[in-house]
């Protein structure tokens, strides 16, 4: 089966972002960028399905600025076969991303799309669900285990009370949660090999998708800081403070 994996270029998870002085957004200039961690997990899962002989081809797709090429290369170095960059300078919202991914999925006739459950920049947790809706496919979100057999995917999902397992007829959309796997580091030879793999570049207009945002950002603010606390010397003091000062126990 053919798999499509969506990978987003985001501010690295180790960076503590700063709000811009004019409150128009967060500072991204000169900040380290990486593949969204959940998307690494999505790529890893696809590569494992290929290693098991379940998947035959893996396409990684990213929507964004020209530098998203690097994110695609990372996916190729992990084991994906080829890449597609849908290039735009617009900060594309999940609805438009889902519309683009839909067109790519149909054009490439894939049997499943794997995404991260959440991009750690916008924290939307929406694109996979929206893509599934637009395609009319079933969805297995927040996956911690995926098994593919007989034209169906059995997906174990991380839910509020624990785990839930659903069975989806293929084609389907799956979004990766943290416990699905531990993504590999690309080896140097694989990084070299990835340089030769093909990346096609398209524009949203080539897919007839309008990426005009529906949301306008009025402003972006720093959350209010907590006031500095104190260190207590021992348990007795802690309990005394919680009882008599904070009055929470």
């Amino acid at each position: 089966m053919k798999l499509l994996v969506a990978v987003k270029r985001v501010v690295d998870y180790n960076v503590k972002v700063r709000v811009k002085a004019d409150k128009s957004g967060v500072e991204t200039a000169g900040v380290k960028m990486s593949m969204n961690p959940f998307d690494e997990i999505a790529v890893e899962e696809a590569v494992r399905l290929k290693e098991k002989g379940v998947a035959s081809e893996i396409i990684v797709v990213s929507i964004g600025v020209a530098q998203a090429q690097e994110t695609i290369r990372t996916g190729l170095a992990m084991g994906a076969d080829r890449g597609i960059l849908v290039e735009t300078d617009v900060a594309v919202e999940p609805l438009a991303v889902a519309k683009i991914l839909k067109e790519v999925a149909l054009k490439e006739e894939v049997d499943a799309v794997i995404l991260g459950k959440q991009a750690i920049d916008d924290d939307m947790n929406a694109t996979g669900q929206m893509l599934a809706a637009l395609l009319g496919w079933p969805q297995g979100t927040f996956a911690s285990k995926v098994e593919v057999a007989d034209g169906a995917a059995t997906v174990t999902r991380e839910v509020d009370g624990g785990l839930e397992t659903v069975k989806l007829s293929l084609p389907a959309v799956i979004t990766a949660d943290l416990r699905l796997n531990e993504p590999r580091y690309a080896s140097l030879p694989n990084i070299m090999k990835a340089r030769k793999k093909a990346i096609d570049t398209l524009k949203p207009a080539d897919l007839n998708v309008d990426v005009t945002p529906r949301l306008t950002t009025i402003n972006v603010n720093e959350p209010s800081a907590r006031k500095a606390g104190i260190k207590v010397p021992d348990v007795a003091t802690l309990v005394e403070k919680l009882r008599n000062e904070a009055k929470v126990i």
């Binding site: 669900q129 809706a133 624990g162 943290l178 306008t216 959350p223 309990v239 126990i249």
Partner: protein
Amino acid sequence: MTALVVLDFDASGIKQPSRSAIAAAAKLGEVHVLVAGQGIGAVVGEAAKISGVAKVLVADDPAYAHHLAEPMAALIISVAGQYSHILQAATAAGKNVLPRVAALLDVQPISDISDVMDADTFVRPIYAGNALATVKSADAKKVLTVRASSFDPVPAEGGSAAVENVAAAANEGKSSYVGEEISKSERPELTAARVIISGGRGMQNGENFTKLIDPIADKLGAAVGASRAAVDAGYVPNDYQVGQTGKIVAPDLYIAVGISGAIQHLAGMKDSKVIVAINKDEDAPIFQVADYGLVGDLFTVLPELEKAL
């Protein structure tokens, strides 16, 4: 303007985060709620009593027994016409279903709102809560998930809503429920608890959670949470995870034990009223958000704390 809130419930009743979602919806206009499931008479009764609810829509059908995203989204779409806003708490269920609804309506959803400015304008945290974005939607209908910890839940009692049955929507049957493994606990739920004690990698294993954290949780009537590291290492189940990509909590008291305080963890708990950190590393970032920090070895501190309570 009328807002529809999709309710989350299980065998123990309607979830508290749903009453927070109703509180958010009440800022927008009249509030109707949707209860979908199988054999849900008791839940409907409970829903009709919630303060501020004008109408309860009921879809009692086997298709909704497990709240699968595909039939739930089809159902919500079938009743969406009359509503200006569709909301659900940002629970696992809400996050699963509402974006699907939004796409079917050609709407860009707004996830995890923490404030309502007006009918089109909402505040939501981005970048693990390191920034708060105020966004205005140009869509005719708004589809919103609600950060429950940011809205005081409306009272469970005091209302007397009308009840209206709605027909089940067509279901393509492309997904089916196989089973679940739900953690059983007598303790309060993380997202509703007044006190939470969470353990991290410093706990070293699951037995130490049972031996050292549980007795304190019992004394305080607290819920037990964890960092991602503790969940990944298998000390506790996935549903204990607090953080950017786990549960967002804001109890009166949050006690972090053997947790370093990575931004992803802080994202889930830094709005707690009082934070206590117990860590042997005096430079651990968790101390920067703690009201009361105790530098020490958790293996001596926790037994002492249990005795002192």
